[in-house]
């Protein structure tokens, strides 16, 4: 191993991998919460929706579209003042979280909206005919019936997020991207770049496999 990758400090690599996993999972949790809220708001406030409201629809749709349009690397710079205000620094994995969540939640929000639109209108009508409250329709019909699509959407988002953590790493967020860039690329120690690539690919495969397995398990269609 040491012959194949002569420049690698294995302890550093473990730390970097841990940071990547931490950033991905923490940002994924934030993305899940914010994305579901955004997706629900867009879906429910649409014309003919359960909470039809032109202004809410307009504002949430605009928020999602704007943040999806901004390239991630620019988004990091844009919200730098907020990050520094919150954490006192823009370096380190935790400081990267606001940018990661703002970058991926709008994307996931759109996937949530698409998943909710796929829920059969007849089932919602049936729930109304049974006298269900809107809250019951949201939690027991909409979110439950669209769960497989929500999970597969989250898998796609998680993989995009792993890519984002590497980008954030290049400007000092830590993680495998950071390690590959500073210790590998800038010193021309390409073996470090290679090992980081391999690890990221492995993480992506694991996320995809978990996502697929969960989707299969809950999809009763």
């Amino acid at each position: 191993m040491t012959n194949l990758f002569p420049n690698i400090d294995w302890a550093d690599l473990v730390v970097a991998t841990g940071e990547t996993l931490y950033m991905t999972l923490a940002a994924l949790l934030g993305t899940l919460i914010l994305g579901v809220i955004l997706g629900l708001l867009i879906y429910l406030s649409q014309p003919g929706g359960l909470w039809e409201n032109k202004w809410v629809h307009l504002v949430t749709a605009a928020f999602v579209n704007i943040f999806r349009a901004v390239p991630f690397i620019i988004l990091i710079f844009l919200i730098l003042p907020i990050t520094i205000f919150l954490f006192g620094t823009f370096r380190g994995p935790t400081a990267a979280l606001p940018a990661l969540i703002l970058g991926s939640a709008p994307f996931y929000g759109r996937l949530v909206e698409i998943a909710l639109k796929e829920v059969d209108g007849g089932v919602i009508e049936a729930a109304k005919a049974m006298g269900a409250k809107t809250r019951t329709i949201i939690f027991k019909v909409l979110l439950r019936e669209s769960l497989p699509a929500l999970v597969s959407g989250l898998t796609v988002t998680a993989i995009a997020l792993i890519g984002y953590t590497a980008v954030a790493g290049a400007i000092g967020a830590g993680g495998l991207g950071d390690y590959a860039y500073y210790y590998g690329f800038t010193r021309r120690d390409m073996d470090i770049v290679y090992i980081c690539t391999i690890l990221i690919v492995v993480i992506v495969f694991i996320f995809q496999a978990i996502g697929d397995a969960v989707t299969r398990k809950i999809d009763k269609r």
Binding site: E125, A126, G131, R144
Partner: protein, 341 residues
């Protein structure tokens, strides 16, 4: 009793107005099966949704057992809906829930306790004949089984009224019959008032007591199923009756087959609301010295008895034949002598 008074629904778009239901008035007795038949676009689907206000009426009143549905607040309506069952053409089950969980859903909505839900679900599963399927998912069921889940779910909160929106239209004829039989069964067992809409006349013929024919948002003809069957007035009604009875031309190809009858009398026996004379033909043959030969017939059973006509050839002594005809006329069967030699 359900009273519908001057009920209208107008759909407005930017450029036009569509009157889906037009000043419709009806009253439906408690415990009856009331059918509304019409072609697609007649407004029957909108009509049934106006009853539980899945569509808000533009004007008019709906009253169920003295309670003004159209006067209820949003929240009161929501609670009231828990006691109005509804089943759908495409079943509208939650595919993420098992049979039991689907049936439990309206009970959860009504805030029934866990133990009670469990007990009630088992009763309903047995009632609709789905024992053994409790843990299946809808995707593992046939269309007829899915509709049985739909019916069980609709009955969960012991409603007084069941609304059926084309409940058998997505099913094959055999399954349709089994679902119709189940509806008749629960109507009798639970004293449930059933309002159903359909475009299939045989559904009306098989299970309804009264029927209304709908066209362009209005009811153009209404009455007991037998009356509407035996004396359809409007063209649209005649067409629906033909769905079940065949065209009058098919039936009265009188000349052709009468010409082939060499001897005796040809009689047309008209059965309306027949329950008592099931064995009429054999009775006549036994009582009188006549031979009775059935030439052609078309008789359908409805909830109120049989309806239809039978052509028979009767051969015998003139006096005996006249006696036989008189005997038949004493029953509720009408006799028309078409030829005699």
């Amino acid at each position: 009793m359900i009273v519908i008074d001057q009920l209208s629904k107008i759909f407005k778009t930017a450029s036009s107005e569509l009157v889906a239901v037009d000043q419709l008035s009806l009253s439906i007795e408690k415990g009856e099966i009331f059918g509304v038949i019409g072609y697609s676009g007649a407004g029957k689907s909108t009509f049934i949704r106006l009853i539980n206000r899945l569509e808000e009426p533009t004007s008019g009143r709906v009253e169920i057992e003295g309670e003004l549905i159209t006067g209820l607040s949003k929240n009161a309506l929501r609670v009231k809906r828990q006691n109005i069952g509804m089943i759908f053409q495409h079943f509208n089950l939650l595919w993420s829930r098992t049979v039991s969980e689907n049936i439990a859903f309206p009970l959860e909505i009504a805030g029934v306790s866990k133990e009670e839900i469990e007990k009630r679900v088992q009763e309903l599963v047995d009632l609709v004949g789905l024992s053994g399927k409790e843990t299946s998912y809808p995707s593992q069921l046939s269309g007829g089984q899915k509709q049985r889940v739909g019916i069980a779910r609709a009955l969960a909160n012991r409603p007084k009224v069941l609304l059926c929106d084309e409940a058998t239209s997505a099913l094959d004829p055999e399954t349709t019959d089994s679902i119709l039989a189940l509806l008749v069964d629960i109507n009798k067992q639970l004293g449930l008032t059933i309002i159903l809409i359909t475009h299939e006349m045989h559904v009306i013929q098989k299970i309804c007591h009264n029927v209304a024919v709908m066209e362009a948002g209005r009811i153009v003809e209404q009455g007991s199923v037998l009356d509407v069957f035996s004396h359809p007035k409007k063209n649209v009604t005649k067409k629906f009756v033909e769905q079940v009875m065949g065209k009058p031309d098919d039936e009265v190809a009188e000349d052709s087959f009468i010409a082939t009858v060499a001897e005796g009398h040809v009689l047309k026996l008209q059965f309306i609301k027949e329950n008592t004379n099931q064995a009429l033909i054999s009775e006549v043959a036994k009582k009188f010295k006549v031979d009775v030969n059935i030439l052609q017939g078309n008789i359908k059973r409805t909830q109120e008895g049989a309806y239809g006509s039978l052509y028979v050839q009767m051969v015998g002594e003139e006096v005996t034949v006249q006696e036989a005809i008189q005997y038949i006329e004493q029953t509720s069967v009408e006799v028309e002598v078409i030829t005699h030699d």
